[in-house]
Amino acid sequence: MPERTLVQAVRDALAEEMERDERVCVLGEDVGLKGGVFKATEGLQRRFGAQRVLDTPLAESSIAAVAQGLALEGYRPVAEMQFADYSFPAFNQIVNEIAKIRYRSNGDFSCPLVIRAPTGGGVRGALYHSQSVEAYYCHVPGLKVLLPSTAADAKGLLKAAIRDPDPVIFLEPKKLYRAERGEVADGDAALRPIGEALVVRPGSALTVITYGFMRAVSLEAAGILARENIDVEVIDLRTLRPWDVEACVRSVRQTGRVAVVYEANRTGGFGAEVAAELAERCFADLDAPVTRIASPDVPAMPFNPGLEDAYMLNPEKIADRLGALARY
């Protein structure tokens, strides 16, 4: 199987799905000749034409609205928000319109579309190119929210999202676009089911539940603890809504200890949902408090590297907290 970076895998998924199904189209700012600011759509316009790969005006609300209109007419639009931070002008279209049209029409209408957006920090993007926005969308019934962290998952889940009958928010950790690479299958063999978490490192001492860029960082932290013979299990959620509660419960039942590691601001982050649910479901099995390890409640990543480092979680910060949890 070919080696691909995460961003290449996204591009492959788009190309394959557009090849497979002519209803699939791509729209967004600079997705055409430029191929997107991260090159996720590079070459697609040359290959599929300026209709199916449409450069939109600089107006996110209309990007979401037009995608919805196309979906209502039977197309399978994949809309790009250039940065997740810039999905907020489209918030009303996404939350009030796209997420609720199936419900409010009592099932008469549906809106199968994908909204892709690069998310998260660590790339010196500063306040407005670094935000982790998943919590806003994970609270919305009617939406599905995916956040892959490997090339294979990015491709497999994006293909599944495009084929899904409901609207999907597809968040891509921009920090991993080029940093993350791996073997990726072609065609349907690449498909990944929505809603399944994955144990990416088996362990017995404690469970780390994470997603996105924090998967790699948590694995490093687990490596550090391995030297102290603390054997950490790491689970990558991959899908945040609906998330794989059972897989997490299974692990926590065995380890008796769990930390939820997420890059977003701590307060009200999606990790709170995971922690609350597991605290309730696994109460009898817990030997230590369900622990949240997240970013500080600061608006977002500052530009200055020293401040950015101070903001970001890293393997050491996480290892410290995990060590304490293991010793609790």
Partner: protein
């Protein structure tokens, strides 16, 4: 033509009945089309229900009838019964939707249907079978950013869409001068290089002609048109509102004389298309129809509470 007139009378008769039912506590909430009916029906009858798409807004009660909703269906909606074709009683009445009729369900939110209609029209353009998308809204909705984004997008891509503004000069209590900067809504079209037309909303033939012309342009690939129909709001914004709190009594009584239906009736009679007798007959037959629709809806079953969580996502 008489069909259209009949639809207009039917809308009025149903609305009158809704208010009666509201007064006796049987209907919780009404948004009345009173004063808009002629413009709404004139617009829809210039188009092709079944072929075209319609993004209506909550005041388009008469337009919904013209799109093919039956009195019974609208009463089922008014009573929020399981049989309400729009939402099975889930939404407030006025959010009309029916996939098979091409009526795209709205939400109560003001504005978002405008760029959505541009997207629908883009799809219709791609499909290339000459269908168009009609989207209506009040002048208050033109203040939303979505109005601008929708017109800009549709104009850039020459989408076959008709932007139909029912300007009753009030957004609940906010009058046009505090809502719409500049001369008016129609003038906004020039900013996007598309035609903008202002018509009297009580002039059935004027509205019908303007929409027909816009439809020809849309089907011919010439892009969108913005139409502003000036109408009157003969009722308060909704049954939750009392416009006497913010409008002059003199203004209200002056407007009360501007009901477009009598004017249309006179025109039809003067043109010899209608006689006083046929008109009376029609009215009587409609009363019966309204009775039946009301009775059926009143006894129709409510949605099963067990269905609450259905249709959040596709059934597995």
């Amino acid at each position: 033509m008489l069909d259209a007139y009949r639809t207009i009378l039917l809308a009025r008769a149903l609305d009158d009945r809704r208010f009666l039912l509201n007064r006796v506590g049987k209907l919780a909430f009404i948004i009345s089309p009173r004063g808009h009916e002629v413009a709404q029906v004139a617009a829809i009858t210039a188009l092709e229900p079944g072929r075209d798409r319609f993004c209506l807004y909550y005041r388009d009660f008469a337009a919904a009838l013209a799109c093919g909703f039956t009195p019974r269906e609208l009463m089922l909606g008014a009573f929020a019964r399981a049989g309400d074709p729009s939402s099975g009683g889930r939404q407030t009445p006025g959010n009309f939707g029916s996939r098979r009729r091409g009526v795209v369900i709205g939400s109560s939110t003001v504005g978002p249907q405008i760029p959505k209609a541009a997207g629908i029209a883009l799809a219709l353009k791609w499909r290339g079978d000459g269908a168009l998308c009609f989207v209506s809204f009040g002048e208050g909705a033109t203040s939303q950013g979505d109005f601008h984004e929708g017109l800009n997008f549709a104009a850039i891509h020459r989408c076959p869409v008709i932007f139909f503004c029912e300007n009753n000069h009030w957004a609940i209590s906010v009058p046009q001068p505090l809502q719409v900067a500049g001369p008016g809504v129609a003038e906004r079209a020039a900013a996007y290089g598309i035609p903008g037309v202002r018509v009297r909303g009580d002039d059935f033939f004027g509205v019908h002609a303007a929409v027909s012309h816009a439809a020809r342009r849309a089907r011919a690939g010439e892009g969108p048109t913005l139409i502003e129909a000036e109408v009157v709001r003969l009722q308060s914004h909704s049954t939750d509102d009392d416009q006497r709190a913010y409008r002059e009594a003199s203004d209200l009584s002056a407007e009360a004389t501007k009901d477009p239906i009598p004017r249309l009736r006179e025109t039809l009679i003067s043109r010899g298309w209608l006689t006083v007798d046929t008109d009376r007959e029609m009215t009587n037959r409609l009363t019966v129809e309204v009775e039946r629709a009301t009775d059926e809806a009143e006894v129709a079953p409510d949605p099963d509470p067990a269905t609450l969580a259905r249709h959040v996502y596709a059934d597995a």
